[in-house]
Assembly symmetry: C2
Homo-oligomer: 134 residues x 2
DNA sequence: CTGGATCCATGGCGATACTG
DNA sequence: CAGTATCGCCATGGATCCAG
């Protein structure tokens, strides 16, 4: 495929690092980023949270149409996010029934990370030469 | 992966555009955050990139031990990350053989997002009352 | 001994129906 | 409108096997 022969000196950019300690124990119960990874595990957690962050609050079928997600996956994803206290569910006893989902305070706190992800994605799009082969 | 282009033609609903009704079109090829989501899709992309960001460069079995990931998953994950131009693979013709993986410049660019994720995870850990029921 | 593939069991995930 | 139920496939995990 692609033979990327480059010098080893680019391995570590000076002054750029995430954590000072080289011991990476993502599975530790007190590992912050490991816990974050677990919270967003699965294909649809981040897309759902992103939609809610943009819309503020959204109904079940709204999210479904936006993402093209199946009922099963949306239901499970919302339930998981609820368990983590990231999404709140508000049911209105009306006819027809209405259920609105919104980010909790902890869910809202993910937005800075989402924005960084967006900037990163933009950078990848701006460098198509290094992108995946279409 | 393969981009499944959702055809707008629908036998039952002619003339109805599916993509047009989405205000948030994460599937659009020019959507930055959608592209970022695709780039990190899968269970192990972020953990592997995190390990590489901390270690600077790591060998195959180093990553494997750190994460407790299986051979198949690590191989596939590294290959996907290579395709996206996020990870570089450097092979040394030595005895015993040695292969080192490191983040590319585009791969390193994810670190601000990882830092935000870490802060977010720390916030979740600091608010156990809102966390998932143990 | 290291990097990686192959077989196999399981669970996440998708498509389509059906229900309150 | 907001879910549930069911089927089937593919990604994932576990163990073992292969190449250099």
């Amino acid at each position: 495929m692609n033979e990327q022969v480059e010098s080893n000196e680019t391995a570590a950019l000076p002054g750029v690092y995430v954590a000072a300690e080289a011991d990476v124990s993502l599975t530790a119960p007190t590992c912050a980023i490991g816990y974050a990874f677990k919270a967003i595990e699965g294909k649809w957690k981040l897309p759902v949270m992103y939609v809610l962050s943009v819309r503020g609050a959204a109904r079940y079928n709204e999210i479904k149409r936006e993402l093209g997600i199946t009922n099963m996956m949306l239901t499970n994803t919302l339930r998981d996010l609820e368990e983590y206290g990231l999404v709140s569910r508000t049911q209105y006893n009306e006819v027809p029934p209405r259920v609105e989902y919104a980010l909790t305070d902890n869910g809202y706190a993910i937005i800075p990370a989402l924005k960084e992800f967006e900037k990163w994605g933009q950078r990848l799009l701006d460098a198509p030469a290094d992108g995946p082969v279409e």
